[in-house]
Every structure is written in structure tokens, then in C-alpha cells.
Amino acid sequence: MSNRALSGGRAASAPLMGHETEPTIFEMSVPGRSAYQLRTTGVPATALADLIPAAHLNGDVVNIAEVSERDLVAHFTRLSHRQFSVDLGMYPLGSCTMKYNPKFCDAVANDPGLNSVHPGSPAQLTQGWLELLATLEEKLCAVTGMAAATLQPAAGAAGELTGLLLMRAFHSANGDPRRRILIPDSAHGTNPASVTLGGYEVTTVPSNDRGLVDLEKLKASLGPDVAGIMLTNPNTLGLFEEEITEIAAAVHEVGGLLYYDGANLNAILGTVRPGDMGFDIVHMNLHKTFATPHGGGGPGAGPVAVSQRLVEFLPGPKATRLDDGTFAWVKPPRSIGRVHGWHGNAMVLARALAYIDVHGGDGLTRVAKYAVLNANWLRHRLHATLPAAYDRVCMHECVLTATPLKNAYGVRGLDVAKALLEEGFHSPTVYFPLIVEEALMFEPTETESLQTLEALAEAIERIAQRAIDDPDALHRAPQTTPVSRVDEARAARHLIPTEDAASR
């Protein structure tokens, strides 16, 4: 490589002070110590026993923890130092889209003009929020090519289930809810779980030798009892389903609907829209495609957009732009009802709108193109070390396999993933999709530089060399991290979910 600049995304220099464990906050607690300070209110301090009947009062004190503010800060700061994050370094978890989260989007959403607003306030007093939500809905529809959307689902899985309930409502309105949903064998696990909760049965459709839906087998699975199909395109192998129009036609032919799992929407922004591919229902993971931070496992947001014939069934009420330029909550005429306690993960929605506004149509298109460029560069760069499961042009992620290392040296995909932690990179997704042996799924995202991709490739090459030299050391990796491999079997066998279940 001509460019000799060093990687901005490799975290191997992160300083960590030693190898002791962090005490729990309960272990640091000293009775009588406190940190809290409350407002001076002047409200009469009537004894609780005079306000509330004794039958309701708890005779016992619920112990929290009693720490000083200084110890509280030290404890959670040290915990934060025991945690990998996108801000620390590259996080190439396939399918999870751990791109850089612009700080601006957090800041703009955290404005008190948005985050100090009570969700039960009358619409007349929250016109700004209603306009923001209605605007976001319009822009998400522009991105996906759909007619309208609900912003309520709190995460992708909630969006999936919402989408299946929409399918059920649509088919029920036509007299028969139908029975089965088709899902490719490469699908995310949330898909089949959502299908069951939607009251449907799963029919699995096999992939062909190109890693795509087997069209003939799909056609053989279709029938009048099929409510629809759930697809992600590009699929979980990072490959574009090239026969999508044929798939859509076949499913529509039997009266079924097409559901688009938006986990991989970031690959096609500005290039293809799910609506133009024939999809009827689309969920989006705003915490993936639109870069809202994932919070260590949430919050996300999983809006669901639909084609015209499903609009009347959408969850509600929805923030709606009226003819006079004001906004009101309106429930679609045949709405399936609420799928969230309030209006969805509003602050996440605001961040996503800021991200869309900064990028614009041109910027979002570039996001997808550079994500695809990075994934293909990495796939090609690593083909001698970790070959791709399907070695041709991929989209935003590539599924590689450690099978050669396993066969030659007994080093498995998990070992490679763990050794990468010692190299200053987060692991890729391991052993998914299930149909690829020793799968290592890399999604570099568009925000990582060429230097970081090169550093990642060199780290993997060093690991491959270690596989030859000292495979046993790789089985023990990582050793430079706050803890080494943990005993997962013990955790499951003897469940200790709380401090009180631990015998200290």
C-alpha cells in the first residue's frame, strides 16, 4: 500500500491498569454514606404513616448501595475502561453495523427542547416533536420507497413482529389470516422467533450453491396458505438476492406479502429501494443504518414502513401533518393498535433524523457505496488467509471462513475472533450465518479508513502465522484483556444473576 499513515481505528494502545477485578458497587457500600442531593421544597414533611395505610408500607428497608459521589464516579469510570466501544476502535461485527456515531446527532437530540418534553403533553404543546416525527417518517419513506411508516417499534425485532401483525391484519381483512411464513435458512434468529409470536408457522427455504434463495425450491414452498416471506437483501451472507423481482412476483402471485428485514439496508441506500424491489413491509434498524449509538445492547429503534395497501393498518396514533400546517395524533382507520407505551424511542428517532439531514440524499448514497467498497477490499485482501464463503462481489459485509485454519492447525473461527481482541480490534460476528462452516462475518462499515482495514488484515495475518507456530496459544487467547475466556457453562449451570445469589 502506498499510503504509510497508521490506522486510526486500531485500539491496541488502550491503557489498562492491571489485572484485578472491579468490586461491585455493593461491595463498596458503607452504611450511612450517601451521594444524593434533592431540592429544598418547603412541602410539609408529613409522616408517611399519616398519608398511607400501614398495610401498604414496607416494614423492611430495600437496600440499594451506600457510596459517596466520588466512589460512584470512580466505579463506573473504571467499568467504562473495561468496555470496548466504537469510540475506542474498529468494531467489525457483521450484521450489527457498528459504524461511527456522530456526536452531533446525540447533542442535537439531547436538547432540552426535545428531551424535557413529557410524552403525555397535549399535541398542541408539542408541535415541534410531532413535526419532527412526521418529517422523519416522510424521509424514511423516501429512503425505502414506501407509502407510510410507524415509528413506534423500539427495536428491529419489535419491528418484525409489528410487520407480521400487519400481514395478519391485511390477510384477515381479506377473509383468511393464512398460516405460513417463508424464511431463508440464512435468516437472522429474530425472524423465526417473530413469526411464532405473530401466530404463524415457519417454512424454511434453502439457499442455493451461490448463497442465494433457491428460487425453484421457494416456488415449490408457495401456496395459498402462505402469508408472506421475510427476506433481507442483501442477505446475511452479504450477497444481493439477484432474483428478487422473480421472488416478489412468485410470492405476490399466491397473494403473499414480502417483508424486508432492514438489518442490511445500509448497503443499498440510494442504490435500490425495498419498495422498488416489490417489498410490502420494511423495518429499519435506525441504530444500524442511521448510526444511532447502540448503548451496549440498546436502545435501538425499528420503524416499519409499508406500501399503500397496508397504510390503514399501521400502529397508531401517528404524528400527522394536517392541511393547515399543524400536526395532530391520528390513528389509522383499521390500526392494529399501539406497539409501544408511548411514541417509540423518540430520542433515537431524533438522532436518526439529524443523521439523515446531515448526509442528505447524496451523503446517504455515499455511505452505502463506501461501506460496500470497504467490505470488498477486506474480502479480497484476506482471500489467501480467510477465504470468503462465496467468493464474489459482496455488499456491505463479507462472510469469511476459518475452515482452512481449522483443518490445518485446529484453530477455529472463535480462536481467530478472540485473538483479534489482543490485536486491538473487536471480533467479527462468529458462527453466523448458520449455513457457513466456521463463519467469520466482517462488516467494516464506511467510517473505517483504508489504513485501519490494512491494520486489521495484517493482524489477521499475524494470527494465521500464530496458528502455524503455536496454535495452543490461540486457544487461550485473549490474555491481554481485562478477563480471559470466561466459563460460560458454569454461568449457565449455576445461575448467579444478582449479588444476593452470589455467596460472598
Binding site: 431540592r39 432540552p112 423465526p192
Partner: protein, 455 residues
């Protein structure tokens, strides 16, 4: 135009050359032309951050119901509690904010231990031993509780008090379209669930709220007895702040606790992201929805934490999973652990006590106003409902002109007829007081309401 992409034109050329390509377009050449977008996205061009910030001031200025303009007396499950700088700053640390689900425990001990501490606190506050690592919000938490009850009993009938928040009940009804659960709502009389009016035979769950959404403290033992008599699980939706001074769900005999964790450090945030609290008895462990963190050791025998009982979860069990939850609300759970650490044992009791004191002080003053009548004669905790004799939505708008967010209109919470209110619902206002409200603010509330109802 602005973006966060590092690629220089020279680097793009270099990368394409490495791939044997001469344009980015070639990367997409295998996509059928029939589905390609030819004109680009129908969106405005990108803008710089300061330009977008200026655009967003249109939204923030059009929100009148914000803290700088109105004193908040609205509750309905979402409360304006003190969130100190220390909690905001710790919870805002980017290591917590920009991490993913802790799939690699070696580099995720920070989030995993914070969740373990959160789980400990939720177990103590619920009085139940098996918490999970969080759900989306209380409403979707209730849905998971119903699914758990179905799994435990194989029955479909869910008997739910109308004292459960109307939105939670509506969400339960939405998801029942898929699971086929039969939702039976039990009416309130004088603000208290009339359990005697319902046939609970073959019920999977008996669901009560403590306090109920109108603020009333119901005696939970009747609901518990009904659950036991019918071999149903007893589900209690409880205000977690109340647990600072009142009996916990576990002490009332609950099999499952669900609650809204927003009061622990999360701002009003226009309704989300919030935090679904969930805990259950050990009998239900294998049916627990979502993630759970457990303690274990690493290969060097150091205490470590890891997500466990993974075999229940959707990515492994797929269509046989009892829940599809994957992403949850971890950051809010971490925030709750930090906020509770800041409050401590005494602080939580103090907050709960002050809420009750403020609410009772306001209640006593309000019912002195002619035409203002309590919806219930029963004891309440931190929130209460009153008939105003005037349309509550209209009164709220009038009060807003005086800088007071006077509460939540019950008619706006309920969609259509509801069994929680006897008589006219349109004049019912739900009012709360938190520890942040001073006596002067409360006195002013009374004056503003008096004016709004023409007295």
C-alpha cells in the same frame, strides 16, 4: 454536504484498482437494472452540522411543553425526577453509549458488570430473584409477562385490571392478535379493581397494577388469592420508586414483576427510550425473555460476567423461542444502576416519601376547589385523578398559558370506552407531584387551576 467518511479520492482509486475495478458503480453491477434507483434519493442535499442544528431549533421552539416553559405535574408512568450532573455524565460516557451487545465478554466486562448490578437492584426492588437485563418499556414488558404466563400454564386467558395503564393494556391487545391471547379487562369501582365481577376460570395470568394508573393503592391480596385459586400466575405492574417505601411485588406474592424504569435517571424524553423492568420467580427462569447476565470466572479464575442461559434466546432457539427480544435498552439499565447508586438506600426512600408528601399536599388543596372531586376515595401514593367539572384537555391548554403542565387528561390516555372510570371521563385529570416540585410551585398550580376552571 458533510459526512464522516475518511476516504480520499486517491484512496478510493487505489482500493478500486486493488479490486480490478475502475468505478464504484462496478461494485453494484450485479444488481438487476430493473430495481435500480436511477434518479437518486428524493431527499434534500446534505447540510453541515451547524445548519442542521439551526433547523432543529424549529422543532425545539415549537415544543411549548418543555422544562424551560412549564412546570411539570404530568405523570402517567413517566415522572420528572431529579437527574444530577454526575449521573448524566457517567451514563453519557461513550464506552457505554457506543458499545454493542456484550457478545465478547473479555472486552465487555464494563457493561456486563453494570447490568449485573442493575439486575441486583431490580431483584431487590421487585422482591423477586430472577431479573432480566431489561426490555423496551413497561408496556412491552407486560406482553412478555403474558407470554411467560402462557408458557407456564398453556392457557390463553389474561385477566387484566383496568387499573393497569391504558397504553400497556392496548399494547397487550395488539400483540394478542398474534399470540391469540384472550384479554379480559376488569372494571374499577371507586378506583379499585372489582375482581369479583370477573370469571377467572382458566386464566393464565391475573394482572394488577401497584399503585394503579390512577395512583390508587389497591390491596393486592385479593388479586393474589384469585390467581392462586385459579392456578394462574400473578403479574404485578409496579412503580419502582414506590418500592422505596411500599411493599414490593414479591411481598404481595407476585410471580412476575413488570415496571417502567424511566424514573431511574432517564429524562422525560417524549416517551423513549425508556426501560422495561422485569423479574420473576425461579420457577419461571427458563421462560425468561431477553438477556440475563450471570457471574462466573475466567480461565484465570477471576470473577467475570457473561450473558447466560443463552439457549432460551431467539438466535439459538429460533421459532421455538418464547421471546424475540434481541436489542433491549441496556443504556437505560446502566443509567438506572448509576442513578440508584447515587440515590442509595436513603435517597430512594427520601424521593418516594417526598413524592407522596407533595401529591397529598396538592390533593388536599385541589379538592377544596368547588367542582373538583376525587375520582377515588381510596389511598394513593404519588398520583391521583380528579373530576374537574370541565373538559380536562381544555383546562390543560389554559393552564399551559400560565406555564403549568397540569397533568395528563385521562380521556387522551384511553382510546374509546374504558372500564377504569365510572361516569364522564372527559373531565378527569391525572396529576402527579415529584420530589422536584416545591411548595411554591404547588401553590401556584392550585391558583392556576382555580383560574382555569373559572374560580
Amino acid at each position: 454536504m458533510a459526512d464522516y467518511l475518511p476516504h480520499t479520492p486517491a484512496e478510493i482509486d487505489e482500493m478500486l484498482a486493488f479490486l480490478g475495478m475502475d468505478s464504484l458503480e462496478q461494485l453494484f453491477a450485479h444488481i438487476p437494472p430493473a430495481v435500480r434507483l436511477t434518479q437518486g434519493l428524493d431527499l434534500p442535499e446534505g447540510m453541515s452540522e451547524p445548519d442542521v442544528a439551526a433547523l432543529f431549533t424549529n422543532y425545539t421552539s415549537a415544543n411549548r411543553a418543555k422544562a424551560s416553559e412549564m412546570t411539570c405535574f404530568a405523570g402517567a408512568g413517566v415522572y420528572d425526577h431529579e437527574v444530577p450532573a454526575v449521573v448524566k455524565m457517567l451514563a453519557g460516557r461513550s464506552e457505554f453509549v457506543t458499545a454493542y451487545t456484550p457478545y465478547q465478554p473479555e472486552v465487555a466486562q464494563g457493561v456486563l458488570q453494570a447490568i449485573f448490578e442493575y439486575q441486583t437492584l431490580i431483584a431487590r426492588l421487585s422482591g423477586l430473584p430472577i431479573p432480566n437485563a431489561s426490555l423496551y418499556d413497561a408496556a412491552t414488558g407486560l406482553v412478555e409477562a403474558l407470554n411467560m404466563a402462557h408458557g407456564a400454564t398453556t392457557r390463553q386467558k389474561m385477566v387484566i385490571s383496568s387499573g393497569v395503564h391504558p397504553h400497556w393494556r392496548e399494547v397487550a391487545k395488539t400483540f394478542a392478535r398474534g399470540t391469540g391471547h384472550e384479554i379480559v379487562e376488569v372494571p374499577l369501582k371507586d378506583g379499585v379493581t372489582d375482581w369479583g365481577s370477573v370469571d377467572a376460570t382458566n386464566a393464565a395470568a391475573i394482572v394488577a397494577s401497584y399503585p394503579n394508573y390512577l395512583g390508587v393503592l389497591e390491596d393486592m391480596s385479593e388479586a393474589k388469592t384469585l390467581a392462586v385459586a385459579n392456578d394462574a400466575l400473578f403479574v404485578v405492574g409496579a412503580d419502582p420508586v414506590a418500592a422505596g417505601v411500599l411493599k414490593t411485588a414479591g411481598q404481595w406474592g407476585a410471580d412476575i414483576f413488570v415496571g417502567e424504569g424511566q424514573p431511574f435517571g432517564t429524562p422525560l424524553a417524549y416517551g423513549g427510550p425508556f426501560l422495561g423492568l422485569f423479574a420473576c420467580t425461579t420457577e419461571q427462569t427458563r421462560r425468561l425473555p431477553g438477556r440475563i447476565v450471570g457471574e462466573t470466572v475466567d480461565s484465570n479464575n477471576r470473577r467475570s460476567f457473561v450473558t447466560t442461559l443463552r439457549a432460551r434466546e431467539q438466535d439459538i432457539r429460533r421459532e421455538k423461542a418464547t421471546s424475540n427480544v434481541c436489542t433491549n435498552q441496556t443504556l437505560m439499565a446502566v443509567t438506572a444502576a448509576i442513578q440508584l447508586g447515587w440515590l442509595g438506600t436513603q435517597g430512594l426512600r427520601e424521593v418516594a416519601t417526598r413524592c407522596a408528601q407533595g401529591a397529598h399536599y396538592l390533593f388536599d388543596e385541589l379538592v377544596k376547589i368547588d367542582g373538583v372531586q376525587a375520582v377515588s376515595t381510596q389511598p394513593f401514593f404519588r398520583e391521583f385523578a380528579v373530576h374537574l367539572g370541565h373538559d380536562a384537555s381544555a383546562v390543560l391548554l389554559t393552564m399551559a398559558n400560565d406555564g403549568v403542565l397540569g397533568g395528563v387528561s385521562v380521556a387522551a390516555l384511553t382510546s374509546g370506552p374504558d372500564l377504569s372510570i365510572e361516569g364522564d371521563v372527559n373531565d378527569v385529570l391525572l396529576v402527579t407531584v415529584t420530589e422536584r416540585r416545591t411548595k411554591d410551585e404547588i401553590d401556584r398550580y392550585v391558583e392556576v387551576l382555580r383560574k382555569a376552571v373559572g374560580q
